[in-house]
Symmetry: C2
Subunit: 196 residues, 2 copies
Amino acid sequence: MAMGRLKAPQRREQLLAVAVKLFARWGYSATTTAAIAEAAGVTEPILYRHFRGKQELYIAAVSAAARTALEIWQSMIDGIDDPAGQLRTIASRFAGHVLEQGDHYHLLHGALATSRDRRVVAVLREFFTGAEQFFEGLFARGQARRVFRQDLDARNLAWQLIYAGTGFAMIVLNLGDDGRFVVQSAVDSLVAGFEG
Amino acid sequence: MAMGRLKAPQRREQLLAVAVKLFARWGYSATTTAAIAEAAGVTEPILYRHFRGKQELYIAAVSAAARTALEIWQSMIDGIDDPAGQLRTIASRFAGHVLEQGDHYHLLHGALATSRDRRVVAVLREFFTGAEQFFEGLFARGQARRVFRQDLDARNLAWQLIYAGTGFAMIVLNLGDDGRFVVQSAVDSLVAGFEG
């Protein structure tokens, strides 16, 4: 098999990508290492050379989903100088981004809603701390430039966005609604409320 | 056994309450009807007299969680005449409510994040439609009385609250953060933005 010829780092990446898909689709409990190995075209012993077990694969998959989300948010605002423009860009692209990254968000939501493992919780805390820093920074830069209102706390605003974004992603992704119009008008009223 | 003496409707309620707890704690896949029957102190055949199977029990449990949440929100505003006061009351009590109703919210979030069954999705849609009607009504009454801004769409505002409330409940419940300060200041800025 061509699959058999992958080098170790590529094999690890491939197993991780397969694990993301299966965990996203079936959840932690219903996904077995046997199913992941089969979908990756390898035997279970080969899987176990790269990951000690299902829990380690799951943690690696949730970490990869978190890292990817934060990187894409950052890439959305690279090259945009104005913080209000950065916020508008993220808002306008967020629904499409969530659907494109459906597996990653399914995985993050499933981990948040159902996992009691403290290592998974630690990965999720790190993700939300990253999100806090990202949005707090955006609001703080906007306040420093006086394009956002000075009287609101940047960290607080960051958490309002994180709560709304998390709920939005959960509902749009799982119930198939198109909430774009709500996000657009929410940001319009938010940014209009800040600017000037 | 004293448990054996329950009448059919009480037995059904008891089985449902046990199912809510176990599904909330372990999720759908990892919970068996054998475990539910055992925790309820009955045999599996008795469980099957009341529910055709695990999926029917799960749907009934998610429905019960949704109904309870909507009823409690309504009870929070009963006797409060002013829509701005209604919104402030819900906001100030929401974190405590989510923690008190932890099993019900765990169940709703788990269903939303992980279930692909169309009957479960239908129950969730009904829940969010109920939430939309509840908050749209609140905002529309406030606009009719001119205590909220006239230029914002009540349905849109309802969905902003639903997204934020869903994300807030998920994060507070599962990561153990106390987000109350964020909610309080968010509502302060929201209501301040609306009133007058």
